[in-house]
């Protein structure tokens, strides 16, 4: 087989293919000029009096003015959530809570195209992904957890579940609406009220979501959305009126939060960084594996905590895999996130682009060999061409640190034992991928990989019924499935 692959002339690479632009219309979304804080069911001006501009990272175009919440604003939001918790939400029968959450799921689907366009505009991700992944899975998450709301006593044998109170939730910019759903759906299903802070750079779908809450008739104060930068998050973490912090973001900030809440009795779940190994054995279905590698690292520009950012290839097929990978990379279309043909969109912010650039530079300096696809990047906005590094040593920063960009580091191995050793050789433990047609080997590997999610012959799959979360410094607690309820309950 391997010889055949080598002698057969390569399939023509459609590099020169012309694609007519296929832009998704922006008309479906109308942003307000200015968004206040969503507290107690209405938009209010921030007590801080501060505002900032949120932009489209693909064009640097201004989209809307956003409120910067400070201590006083956080305090108001927490108060509002507390009132809503005490005055009804926690005492509402689970079956009634369920119906509100079912409504949210339905409305999100009804307005799915609007949310997809807004998400791609504000985050830079391709419309194909926001339309086919982010928004439908967000809606599915609400639908899934809605069903749990009146069945909690069946979830944990011999334990009596109670809501915690007010959940403070801080989410990142890579999947703004999806992460909102991962946080809010289980919290509400368990009878909590929430104060959620979307990322500084991607507040718009969370703010549009406040209109879904209005349409669903959700009681005021059950969901509060406050916007701002790290100072807002820090004020939430310190606020004594919050019973639980749920954070998704970098490992550095996660550690700060864990330190800050030490001794306060606040509950905590952390979903942090990753440096997943995608492990390719010589008996894999090669073309499927190459698709999996591409999906693993270039999905959402690689701005994914569980991205397959370290490719471990068995030595015997190394040349073949790299050749196929480069060929496939060169067919990726980088550009306008709203174009339906786009595979790789814009990097979310200048700050993130700088971080990627800096780490890629370190890879060159440490001696790795770089390959980037030849694509024309737009003049405005934040862009980074799909990149792969070969000749990478385990000690290189690009093999140890989370890059959070479209940058793949390739290492090799000879035996399954060596693959396990290298895959586990990081402080992280969020996800891993294994490609082999040998069933027993998949299970053998899955047993030994110290990671919360293992994808066998697939990668980057998500589902509300499937628990997600990390080992080691990738955090603790699970989101999704029955396990995801536990983060929002206390037991007698």
């Amino acid at each position: 087989m391997a010889d055949l692959e080598k002698t057969r002339p390569p399939a023509p690479v459609p590099l020169e293919w012309e694609y007519a632009p296929a832009p998704e219309s922006r008309e479906i979304v109308h942003f307000q000029e200015r968004y206040g804080l969503f507290v107690g069911g209405e938009q209010i001006e921030p007590r801080s009096g501060e505002w900032y501009s949120t932009i489209a990272p693909a064009s640097e175009e201004h989209l809307a003015e956003i409120a910067q919440a400070r201590e006083e604003d956080v305090d108001l939001a927490v108060q509002s959530a507390r009132d809503a918790f005490e005055n009804g939400w926690s005492r509402l029968p689970g079956s009634e809570r369920a119906k509100y959450i079912f409504r949210i799921a339905r409305i999100l689907l009804e307005r799915s195209r609007e949310f997809a366009v807004a998400e791609s505009l504000n985050s830079g991700k391709p419309i194909r992904e926001s339309r086919d992944v982010d928004v439908p899975i967000a809606a599915a998450h609400f639908f899934y957890y809605a069903g749990w709301a009146d069945k909690l006593e069946y979830a944990f044998p011999n334990r009596r579940p109670h809501p915690l109170g007010v959940a403070g939730q801080i989410i990142p910019w890579n999947f703004p609406l999806l992460m909102l759903a991962w946080k809010i759906a289980p919290a509400l299903a368990c009878g909590n009220t929430v104060v959620l802070k979307p990322s500084h750079t991607t507040p718009l779908t969370a703010l549009l979501f406040t209109d879904v809450c209005r349409q669903a008739g959700l009681p005021p104060g059950v969901v509060n959305i406050i916007t701002g930068d790290g100072r807002t998050g820090a004020a939430m973490v310190r606020h004594p009126g919050i019973d639980k912090i749920a954070f998704t973001g970098s490992t550095g900030v996660g550690k700060d939060i864990q330190r800050a809440i030490a001794g306060t009795g606040k509950r905590l779940t952390l979903e942090l960084g990753g440096k997943a190994a995608n492990i390719v054995f010589d008996d894999c279905a090669l073309d499927q594996a190459v698709e999996g590698i591409i999906n693993g690292i270039y999905f959402n520009q690689g701005e994914v905590c569980c991205a397959g950012s370290r490719l471990l290839v068995q030595e015997s097929i190394y040349e073949q895999v790299i050749a196929k990978l480069k060929r496939r990379m060169s067919t990726l279309r980088v550009g306008d996130p709203l174009d339906k043909n786009t595979d790789v969109g814009a990097i979310n912010s200048r700050e993130q682009l700088d971080r990627i650039t800096e780490l890629v530079e370190s890879g060159r300096e440490e001696g790795a060999e770089i390959f980037q696809t030849e694509c024309t990047l737009p003049d405005r906005g934040f862009w980074f061409a799909p990149t792969v590094f070969t000749n990478v040593a385990q000690s290189y920063r690009i093999a140890q640190e989370e890059i959070f960009g479209p940058v793949l580091s390739v290492l090799t191995f000879r035996t399954p034992e060596e693959a396990v050793e290298k895959a586990n050789n990081t402080a992280y433990g969020l996800s891993a991928g294994v490609w082999t047609e040998k069933g027993s080997r998949i299970l053998w590997m899955a047993e030994r990989l110290r990671a919360g999610v293992v994808w066998g012959n697939t990668f980057n799959r998500f589902d509300p019924a499937s628990p997600f979360g990390g080992y080691k410094e990738s955090g603790f607690g699970r989101e999704g499935g029955r396990h995801g309820l536990e983060a929002y309950l206390r037991f007698e």
């Binding site: 001794g263 293992v454 589902d463 499937s466 080691k472």
Partner: protein, 266 residues
Amino acid sequence: MSGRLPVRKTYKLFIGGAFPRSESGRTLEAEGQNVARASRKDARDAVKAARGAFPKWSAATAYNRGQVLYRLAEMMEARSADLAATCSGEAEVEAAIDRVVWYAGWTDKLPQVLGGSNPVAGPYFNFTVPEPTGVVAIVAPDEPALLGLVTRVAPALAGGNAVVVVASETHPLAAIELAEAIATSDLPGGALNILTGQRAELAPVLAAHMDVNAIDVTGAGEGATELERLAAENVKRVVRGPADGQSPWEIQALLEFKTVWHPIGT
């Protein structure tokens, strides 16, 4: 001056299946005995021993782990008179033994109660299994001397973790007596390590140790906040629970959940 002079016991540490003195050469007097006063170096050695034992203990079959824990109960039963002398008495020893038996029976039921298959919306088989967190540090409560220790340690071992215990500072003898039962129980050397000495000296070393994955601060009292803060350095799981009580959720607190996906197709 008639009769025979008894041979006294030297109370030592339990690290890697052996009974060393503290490398520091120090002891402290507790419960009328000189007890080894472990140093920070001893704590680090204990973590190393635990890490070394983790692959073997965690990879043992659930059936085997259950048998080993049951064997521990057998060994405790045989030493019940000695154990009773280190705690409040026979009733506490019996409760401790029964607790070990109870947890022994959990090892091969956990994945079915805590894990399962997940109905994802697509052609994938998806399942979730519990796995041990790794190396776990436990700051044992002072009371009840034996039962408190067993209550915290048994669920950690049942889950497949390797453990380093900081024994009660005021009642360390129960821990050492228990170590002697463990040494003959087929538990792999290093899967449980016991340090006696000063809690304030030892617990922070374990809380800050980068190769410890979780810390149980049940016995730490007011020192718990500082331990929690130190634990953040490598995102340790921080656990606390009752000094007397039993539940599979105590095991779960020191488990990770792994979810595996695979496509379904022809």
